[in-house]
Symmetry: C3
Subunit: 510 residues, 3 copies
């Protein structure tokens, strides 16, 4: 097969596929990339073909720079001269920022790194990288792993459960492989070089770095160059398709579970029905993206990310990779829904009780860490500008007014469930944090956690995107109130004394 | 932007998009609609583009009338002359039936209403409107809100749960916003004018009505003109696409939850697999719709709604918007599956015990309110005629015989679960209706309710449309029998005395 | 309509639709098939049109034989001469192997059988039939019905639950209709002739066989000729589309439930996202199938079934219809995940305790019935060759190393859950197998069963195909550890004495 590789090296120019887009002619790969392709077109034909089908293989950065500003894909003020004149191929990304990548290794005369990072992408896509650095998602690894309460939750969910001598369930610290396979699949692993391995290949014996936490494409991946994030979470290798990132399936991988059922809700909404009916005739690649002309119902990307045009030369929304730029509320309750955190690094947040949570157990938000009402209004206005392409102001005002009432109502239900678990703690039925116990290890505590983690969240996502079922019978209000009934029933069964409820359920979370 | 609006007024004719369908030339909007478009093409570009992509913007009622009867989209014997000669645009719908709409308001010289209703659509689509008025769905608001038992259920699921002085969970009457956001999302809200608001717009200050219960597209929406229903539930604004209503995604929004998992069952059926494989090459717009020629596996609309042709000039099925015209059974148990109600208004129904339910707790149907066996046979025959396009009689006979056995078997399981909850009531473990309690507020009662509301329903839908998983492990028989085991276990734990089961589980529901 | 049939007989040649594929001209149906079509094009127009759209109606076996070996659809060394020269129509399949079909009946001068079986398909597709006979799926009926433990499970899940005189739940033997409607929908029914029925048809009175277990397309269907399986499980009638079988929707019908959520996991994986984004531009019909050229992300068929080419004349993988040829592990735990069984007939398997299970309750595999490590390595190598089209060796090595750790970790959690149920049995809280009870009928046992049947399975499928949510919050580790907490809580509530846990959880399942 070595011969095949060498032959491929010479015939490769003939391999190029017909461009899908009308672009300046004669866009060719660099010599270095051509050398890479010489072997990899044979050893990884699917990978190379996928790259060939994408825009990186068809357009040079210089050609993109020549387009009108609103239609450009790259955002860097200047692109390094060495990159500008060739298409963007293997060498451009896998040898970029030489010297910064701990996973870099000598490979047939090139210093190559396996894990391409946001820093590499930023050579051409600087604005997106900067925005994304301000995105909660970029911090998803640290926000999870650096929070003592969430670490406890991970131990109880991911760690090995064994029986101790007294027959009680004990939870071990999670193995690294299990963390990587569970929460960190979405949050991102920490990728680190742990050694070197020598393997027999079609070109003889070769050495490769051995990587812990690999493979992974989590949104907050800690890369060997110290950067955070994986652009491939949404723009998968090696086509890096804009259309793909604009389809809700890109988000589905991490936003379909009962904790954050955004995809499922969208799918049953009228927006989802329209996309299912007509989406195959939409122009998923246009930049900017024009409602009505290019698509007729929003996907995740339309509301939260994309640069949208009004069809008359104006912009409805500027592109952002800080996904909460158009979101006043964090619907995801911890345990109550609340105004979005100011900083994407949430590890410094402490609630009134000193716990690393954005709200306390009474529902009071840790206000100094969260955006204020004015910022909430500004973000809502940005989102409503998107609605306005197709909906009247009274429609979208009615929608958001109802959503905010549902946020308050679902927070109040969480408060009632919390009062019940507090009674379990005060009565000794379960060992709560005040007595040094975990709030997540006992059956009664899991009941409580599901009221907010699954059901109040589901109710809010359903309200935000009009996915009726998820607000009622599909993990919504039915299950939320059923869990409350179960909690009360368990307390009664165990004879827990009634405690006077607090003055009034608080739902002041901004 | 005012200038932009005025300019748009003049250039609009040049805006028209290429017609998608070959139709008589020179179909143009009315002068009134052209005036509307003058501003709204700028202020709501997505909305206008969506309308332009639809048939309403391309064809006049007169042109449709000239087509062969079986291929017509409109059904009114005569269309008002003022409407016949222009395409169907903004003014045709939003100023129709002037004087009947409580939400009508003066808007730039026009008397406009926000909420277009079935009465407006009926000017051209009279038959569909008449059929739909006989559809259970049109009555979905009243059938829910006018039934004391369902009102109690809504209170317990949607109302705020708080702890009373004794530490017991108390349920408040639901807030209007929460009713609108929960059950009424699908059932339809009551839309009413509550005042007027003045807003700064691109054309200066303008006044608009303030609407309660808005936005909403529920199937039984109570409109400001007093009519019931929202054609936009399935034919969404402003394209009003036939293809969209024929795709199962139109139904998915309200028929995917565990209570009525029709969409999920269809999706995993062979019909769903065939649609996934070949649906993108089907003709979703043909009228009439011909199995084999236009599509190769049925969607919801094919079995339950569409006018189907046999390919030789005959009809397999006439179009109906009374969705149970081809359905002998209501699979949705209340609490037992039963023959369909005679009247779409189910509020007068009383079972033997005087409760507003179509069956009583022993399984006996409230027969005088339900269609009889002859009518069931007629409806089954209409449905089997559809099956006959692709399946032999022995295939479809076998299918329906098995379904009817599953209806009986699942009703019998519900009877067993009901005997267990009755024992909880008689033993004092829970406070049942006989003692003045709600049958839905205690944990043990929720267990019972899930046996029929989620699991027996799922088993029956799976049987009706061959969606195996939903009959067994996915919310089906496994969960149904698990709940029965839980009920029994709870009774034993509490020492509830065994009571002699009734003579024999009744599954006489017709 | 009889006239219509006769007329159709003459005009049928004009009915032929334009071929979809460039093939030798003049491929025509046999005279016998033309006679069938004479009536059935009228009586079952959808069925006939579906067949006309498929390759069987367009290509003769002889023409397929003339293609290069790697591109052929049929695999038989020789095709019976009588079949070679005509397209494959009604008569070719429904009159094949005359005399072997118990459901054969005289029909207008032909001896026709209703149920076309793998033996009939094998006339042209001999290799696929032989491979499939070695597939677990072909044995799905017997493996379920011939296993005493699974029969017990079926009784408790599918049989009627009634209350006995003491108020205890008793489970009757399942009715045949309910077995057919539940587990056998996927596993396959036993189709048998139970009599003959005479029906009035458009051609006058005719007699047809009455079939028990019909309709059904389960993977292990027992056919009236004694054969096992239904090719139509994946290649549905009457188009028998390769594209359809290659789409994951073909597998979805039986692989979406919580017990085996393969489809759901794939859907949320990056593979699923890429297919959703670009699948409509793939070539789903190419034989062989080339990653990168024909498709850019694998479906179920790509990894487990299809003949894959490397684009340079070589094969990445040979076609197989023994679906575990590329699978070292059976992820589906019984109750622990284990190496695949050697024989597709699993009824002889006995674990150390003599139970018909591939592992015993301590986690020890019934090793002599399972493939050994060398065979596991060979199967993994076949699968990794598929990965290699797009992924580096270090990527796929990392993936499989992590998967194998998750198999071990999930088995260990199952062991802990099993220790808890064993304590319930030993303490008398539940009546276990040692005391003559079923392990599946009591609430506490259902809790235990869900830990492995739903949650450990889900965790493993999520690991195998990178579907994050299903490993954590969507039926995964959260629910697995919640059930363990519930089990412990129940034991404590009932005062079950602590028992010393066994030396160490075994997860030695190979």
């Amino acid at each position: 097969m070595r011969t095949a590789c060498l032959v491929a090296l010479f015939v490769l120019p003939g391999l190029s596929i017909a461009p899908l887009l009308a672009e300046p002619p004669a866009a060719t790969p660099s010599d270095d990339t051509t050398t890479c392709l010489g072997c990899h077109a044979t050893t990884h034909p699917g990978l190379v073909a996928d790259w060939q089908a994408g825009r990186h293989a068809l357009v040079t950065p210089a050609a993109d720079r020549a387009r009108p500003a609103a239609a450009r894909r790259l955002s860097a003020a200047t692109v390094p001269e060495a990159l500008a004149g060739h298409t963007v191929g293997c060498a451009e990304c896998h040898t970029a920022n030489a010297g910064k990548h701990a996973d870099s290794f000598e490979h047939n005369g090139f210093q190559v790194h396996v894990v391409v990072t946001p820093e590499d992408c930023a050579l051409c896509h600087a604005e997106e990288r900067a925005q994304y650095a301000g995105n909660l998602m970029a911090h998803a690894y640290g926000n999870l792993m650096g929070n003592a309460l969430y670490a406890d939750l991970q131990r109880l969910v991911v760690g090995a459960a064994t029986l101790d001598g007294a027959g009680r369930v004990a939870h071990a610290a999670p193995e690294a492989s299990q963390l990587d396979d569970a929460c960190l699949t979405c949050h991102g692993t920490k990728v680190a070089v742990t050694g070197q391995a020598t393997r027999e290949t079609v070109l003889g014996e070769m050495a490769f770095p051995v990587l812990a936490g690999w493979p992974n494409q989590g949104v907050g991946r800690i890369n060997p160059d110290g950067s955070m994030g994986a652009c491939t979470s949404c723009h998968t290798r090696h086509r890096f398709s804009l259309a793909e990132a604009r389809k809700p399936d890109a988000c589905e991988g991490c936003h379909k579970g009962p904790d954050v059922p955004a995809y499922k809700v969208w799918e049953v909404s009228k927006h989802g029905a329209i996309a299912a009916a007509h989406g195959d005739s939409w122009n998923w690649e246009a930049v900017p993206w024009t409602p009505g002309k290019d698509f007729s119902a929003p996907t995740c990307a339309a509301c939260h990310v994309a640069r949208l045009a009004d069809g008359e030369g104006g912009l409805l929304a500027e592109r952002t990779h800080r996904m909460n730029d158009r979101l006043p509320w964090r619907l995801f309750g911890l345990p109550y829904a609340h105004a979005h955190p100011i900083s994407p690094d949430t590890t410094p947040i402490r609630n009134a009780a000193g716990l690393p949570l954005p709200t306390d157990l009474s529902g009071e938000p840790a206000a100094s860490f969260l955006i204020d009402g004015a910022e909430q209004q500004a973000r809502r206005a940005r989102l409503q500008a998107v609605c306005g392409a197709c909906h009247s102001t009274s429609w979208s005002d009615g929608h958001f007014a109802r959503l905010e009432k549902t946020i308050a109502a679902s927070n109040a239900q969480t408060r009632t469930a919390t009062q019940l678990v507090e009674r379990a703690w005060s009565s000794g039925l379960a060992i709560g944090p005040a007595a040094g116990g975990s709030p997540f290890d006992e059956a009664v505590e899991r009941l409580w956690a599901e009221t907010w983690l699954f059901h109040a969240n589901s109710v809010r996502f359903a309200a935000a995107m009009s996915g009726a079922d998820y607000g009622v019978f599909a993990d919504g209000r039915w299950q939320l109130t059923r869990r409350i009934a179960e909690l009360e029933s368990l307390l009664r069964l165990h004879g827990a004394p009634a405690v006077a409820p607090e003055a009034k359920p608080s739902s002041k979370a901004r």
